[in-house]
């Protein structure tokens, strides 16, 4: 039940992150190439840190959030590989977001609310994915009230 709630929270966070990255991608193509009418987001998006391997980082953000949503909604949630992939994926997203935040706030001295929203979502996703992985998927079975211990009990007894 706790795992299910954390998964739902993760889906909501990923959707908010996806919306932020989507808006940044839209604004990059809509307003890229103009100084003077710009916001902090435009300053960030015109900087050298706005593209990685020739791909706008906002597009990489979209790809990341879509991948996380795919893992959260379509992949079997009890699968340890899936949960570990979420930890690694959100971990990479978190560290990369921190690097970009450093560049935005310290190097460029620009405040970009949408970049910041995405970074916060990525941070929360990384924390929740880690917590979910450490706690494990929880008991499989009839539902609330079934403890891991009770679920493990009969199997232990049978083995005896």
């Amino acid at each position: 039940m706790r795992d299910q709630r954390l998964r739902i929270v993760s889906v909501v966070l990923a959707l908010i992150g996806l919306a932020s990255a989507g808006y940044l991608t839209y604004s990059k193509y809509a307003h890229d190439g103009v100084c003077g009418v710009s916001s902090g987001c435009t300053t960030v998006q015109q900087s050298e840190w706005s593209e990685l391997f020739g791909i706008p980082v906002s597009v990489l953000g979209i790809l990341g959030y879509v991948a996380f949503l795919g893992l959260l909604l379509l992949a079997p949630q009890r699968n340890e590989i899936v949960r570990l992939l979420l930890v690694v994926g959100t971990g990479v997203g978190f560290l990369f977001s921190m690097f970009l935040m450093y560049r935005a706030y310290v190097t460029l001295e620009a405040f970009c609310p949408f970049c910041t929203t995405s970074a916060v979502m990525m941070t929360l996703l990384a924390i929740i994915s880690t917590v979910r992985f450490v706690l494990g998927p929880g008991p499989e079975g009839p539902g609330p009230g079934t403890s891991a211990l009770a679920a493990d009990g009969p199997r232990g007894a049978t083995a005896e």
Binding site: G33, W49, F133
Partner: protein, 277 residues
């Protein structure tokens, strides 16, 4: 019966305790395994980020321009600047045939990163396709739009330096060199020292030509550019207009990257006959 029941209870309690102990051991082993996997995952994450940052695969704002050492200072875009202006007449702020049927007017700021991107990725194409073919000439009007937004003052200094090179027709190579070596818009990078380095590297300019002090000419050029920008309601840079020869008609070019040729063709139809000398 009572003895049997007591023994069963004892046996059940012992079995329960054993099961609980085994479950706790399994849980501890499971947690230990998960923490080890988590440690591995963290290492993978750090390695991935380290590789990405170490490869330096971020955007090259100079568009892959060549780097040249001039008096021990590494400068970008010297060759690209030479290629841009090679063989073209320069008349003050105008590059190309001064009698071309259309003038492309570009409003730009030397500290504006969007202007810089346009300069290094699009300008050569426009010059080759429209200026070299004498369909148009290109006039650069420098305005100061970044300084007021960023709280800096060096953009004004760079503009003065560029305008002081107009009389000697060294404006274009200096401006192009500045763009290829532009610093961050929030930094004060256009210092006397840096502008001197850039003038030294700029093809055909040289450090001795540099003057960063305001002169009547630089003041007039700045005022003219600001006045025209205000009258055309220029809100951001770079901003482009086409002006047919012999007219005061300025048509904005909304898509300078893709629509400049069409805008020039349309403006050419309104051009008046060249003035006879």
């Amino acid at each position: 019966m009572l003895g049997m029941s007591g023994a069963n209870k004892k046996k059940d309690a012992a079995q329960k305790a054993r099961l609980e102990r085994e479950a706790a051991e399994r849980a501890a082993a499971e947690r230990s395994k998960r923490l080890k996997l988590l440690g591995g995952a963290a290492a993978v994450v750090v390695v991935i980020i380290a590789i990405v940052l170490a490869t330096g695969a971020f955007k090259d704002t100079t568009g892959g321009a060549e780097k040249t050492k001039v008096n021990g200072v590494e400068l970008s875009g010297i060759q690209e600047t030479k290629d841009l202006v090679a063989g073209l007449p320069q008349d003050g702020t105008i590059l190309g045939d001064p009698n071309a049927p259309v003038t492309i007017i570009e409003f730009a700021d030397l500290k504006c990163p969007a202007c810089q991107q346009y300069e290094v990725t699009q300008q050569k194409k426009n010059v080759d396709e429209l200026v070299r073919t004498k369909k148009a000439n290109l006039q650069l009007r420098l305005i100061n739009i970044i300084d007021p937004n960023m709280g800096t003052e060096d953009g004004a200094k760079a503009r003065i330096a560029a305008h002081n090179l107009v009389a000697s027709d060294k404006f274009w190579p200096f401006v192009s060199t500045v763009y290829y070596n532009q610093g961050l818009e929030n930094d004060t990078w256009a210092t006397d020292k840096r502008l001197k380095e850039l003038a030294t590297g700029a093809p055909g300019v040289g450090a001795e030509a540099l003057n960063t002090r305001e002169t009547p000419q630089s003041r007039q050029l700045a005022a003219d550019a600001d006045k025209l920008a205000a009258s055309l309601n220029v809100q951001g840079t770079p901003a482009f207009f086409v002006q047919p020869r012999g007219t005061r008609e300025y048509t904005p070019v909304e898509d300078p990257a893709g629509g400049m040729a069409a805008a020039v063709d349309a403006a050419a139809k309104k051009a008046k006959a060249p003035a006879t000398r």
